[in-house]
């Protein structure tokens, strides 16, 4: 799918390592939004659907007490009709406008709608993306939307494409401790590994992402993923690999423990001052 013409989002191939997209702020800092996947958006949608239904049912019950069954109840029918109309089509626009891109369901799932450039969405964009739900919904339960999302690198459905928006995830696991290797590498493991590994920063980050998630993968899948890259690194280092996942863990341990720590403080102080000046 083509990207919007004025998008600043990165097209670097390595950005595809994860479902993220780069944003450049007015401060000329690039940071990454994690794009929300279909399953979390679906859960948020169901929550919103239930909340909307509750509103309609509550008004309907009030309507029953207030004379909906009364033979002269034309007025309350009219009111009910209007409420059902407004809730069905206005629910998301209302919340996304007053809550800056969040509906109650999105807030619970820590999602937010932003523009493709990472800015807050406008009322008009909210109207467009939510009316186009009617097209995404076709033929049933968002089948079209799901197919379009699957084709798009940023999981945008038709409504998002027209409005120029995307949904991002705002949750974080917090600041995680450094990765521990269990059991710690033995002397034999480290034999033959230089103290400064011939690995780029990107490669080390990729290894770290893999190791952090390895626990959630089936051992066979772990093995499969690790054996994609482990032989490449092994050839570069001239060593042999028995267990690819373990090999990556040892590489990471070596790299993260051998970085010289002395240079840092001086650099930090300097940066700190420049921040003060800017602020």
């Amino acid at each position: 799918m083509t990207r919007p013409r004025n998008s600043i989002a990165s097209a670097r191939p390595d950005a595809l390592l994860d479902t993220t997209t780069d944003i450049e702020t007015p401060e000329h800092v690039r940071f990454r939004y994690r794009v929300a996947g279909p399953s979390r958006r679906a859960i948020a949608y169901v929550i919103d659907l239930l909340l909307g239904a509750i509103v309609v049912v509550v008004f309907f019950i009030f309507g029953l007490f207030g004379g909906l069954t009364d033979p002269q109840g034309g007025a309350s029918v009219g009111v009910f009709r209007l409420i059902a109309f407004v809730v069905q089509w206005g629910y998301f626009v209302f919340w996304e406008t007053i809550w800056n891109g969040q509906s109650p369901g999105k807030r619970m799932m820590k999602l937010r709608v932003v523009t493709s450039e990472g800015n807050p969405l406008s009322f008009i964009q909210s109207v467009l993306r939510n009316l186009l739900r009617a097209a995404d919904f076709l033929p049933n339960v968002y089948a079209v939307g799901a197919v379009v999302m699957a084709r798009d690198a940023r999981f945008r459905r038709l409504g998002d494409l027209v409005a120029g928006t995307m949904v991002v995830a705002e949750n974080t696991a917090g600041i995680i401790d450094r990765l521990d290797i269990n059991p710690p590498p033995s002397e034999a493991d480290l034999r033959g590994l230089p103290t400064r590994l011939p690995l780029s920063g990107d490669e080390l980050e990729t290894i770290e992402i893999f190791l952090r998630r390895a626990g959630r993968l089936h051992p066979h899948r772990q093995y499969e993923l690790a054996s994609l890259v482990a032989p490449v690194f092994a050839r570069r280092l001239g060593v042999r690999v028995l267990d690819p996942a373990r090999f990556l863990a040892i590489l990471y341990w070596r790299a993260s423990t051998s970085v010289p720590a002395k240079r840092k403080p001086a650099k930090k102080k300097k940066r700190k001052e420049s921040i003060r000046d800017a602020a």
């Binding site: 940071f31 034309g74 800056n100 964009q125 450094r178």
Partner: protein, 321 residues
């Protein structure tokens, strides 16, 4: 202590303070100036931290944490422009009729796509009631005929009222928005919904008239139709414009072409939504009431003239906003 730990230990307090302020800001609508500038300072420091974190390769996890925090602060500090009443007013009363007039070709196409099948359905059903039964389920036609045969002299029967309410909300409002939204499929969806709804509306009107309740249904529809049917035309026109922008891209990418039409499309669909709200009000209170038919017809005349005048003249004589 590794550089990573140093970095976290040194800066964590500042990040936590920012996260806390953002949480509180989420709950409250406004903040005093001092707190907002404090958030600004913390946010700029955070931007520095992100650059530093990237340069020093402190790892993807800490980077992801800071990115999320920066994203939250960014979307707060550069908040949505609030919806101000004068802007909304200008959008509906200026931008909308202007956008529709600029899109007049599709507006007329939309009218044709609805009215020709409507006339066809009406004429053929009046000629022979069986035609309508081929198009729509006979049980539904019977139910509608029964509903209209009762007339409105003492207001409509309540259970009928509830049934009709559900029917109309699902149908008419849904029709208009679906007409628009399915235009994304290169306009084909809009064409289908316009033709189909023109035909079925014509069949219902023809069937009820042929069953001898003609005066009732036409009087009933007269009040809200100027708004409701017009809203369907407008939604169809917006849908067709959206579909056409995907086909005739004028050298842009398809999405780019679509987004360059987004403002005009949005103005039209918001206008259609306003019309639908008016129609729903009339349909809820006015149309089923026991008001004598001549008054209802006079009201319909006023409605048609009002809508026509507004669409032709609205938003003229003002400089472009």
């Amino acid at each position: 202590m590794t550089p990573h730990d140093d970095f976290v230990a040194e800066r964590k307090a500042s990040w936590d303070e920012l996260a806390q302020l953002l949480d509180r800001w989420g709950a409250k609508r406004t903040f005093d100036g001092a707190t907002i500038s404090r958030i600004g300072v913390l946010y700029r420091d955070l931007c520095n931290d992100i650059v530093r974190c990237k340069a020093a390769r402190f790892g993807p996890e800490i980077g992801a944490h800071l990115d999320v925090l920066a994203g939250r602060a960014h979307s707060r500090l550069y908040n949505t422009r609030p919806l101000r009443l004068p802007n909304a007013f200008e959008f509906v009363f200026g931008e909308f009729p202007r956008a529709l007039r600029a899109n007049w070709r599709f507006f007329f196409l939309s009218i044709l796509l609805f009215m020709v099948p409507f006339a066809l359905g009406l004429g053929l059903t009046l000629h022979s009631k069986q035609f309508a039964e081929h198009i729509l389920p006979p049980s539904m036609l019977e139910m509608l005929t029964e509903a209209y045969q009762k007339g409105f002299d003492d207001g409509r029967d309540t259970s009928q009222n509830v049934a009709m309410a559900g029917f109309y909300v699902q149908n008419n409002v849904g029709i208009a928005f679906r007409c628009f939204a399915t235009g994304i499929f290169c306009g084909l969806g809009s064409v289908f919904f316009l033709v189909y709804n023109g035909l079925s509306t014509g069949c219902v009107a023809g069937y009820v008239t042929a069953s001898g309740a003609g005066a009732n249904i036409w009087t009933f529809m007269s009040g809200h139709s100027p708004f409701e049917i017009t809203a369907i035309f407008i939604a169809g026109a917006a849908g067709l414009e959206m579909g056409y922008s995907l086909v005739a891209t004028n050298g842009k990418t398809r999405i780019g072409s679509l987004q360059s039409h987004a403002k005009s499309i949005a103005a039209q669909i918001v206008g259609a939504a306003v019309f639908l709200c008016i129609a729903a009000l009339i349909e809820g209170f006015w149309s089923p009431s026991g008001i004598p038919a001549p008054v209802k017809w006079a009201f319909a005349g006023a409605g048609i003239s009002g809508v026509t005048a507004f669409l032709l003249l609205g938003g003229r004589g003002r400089s472009t906003a």
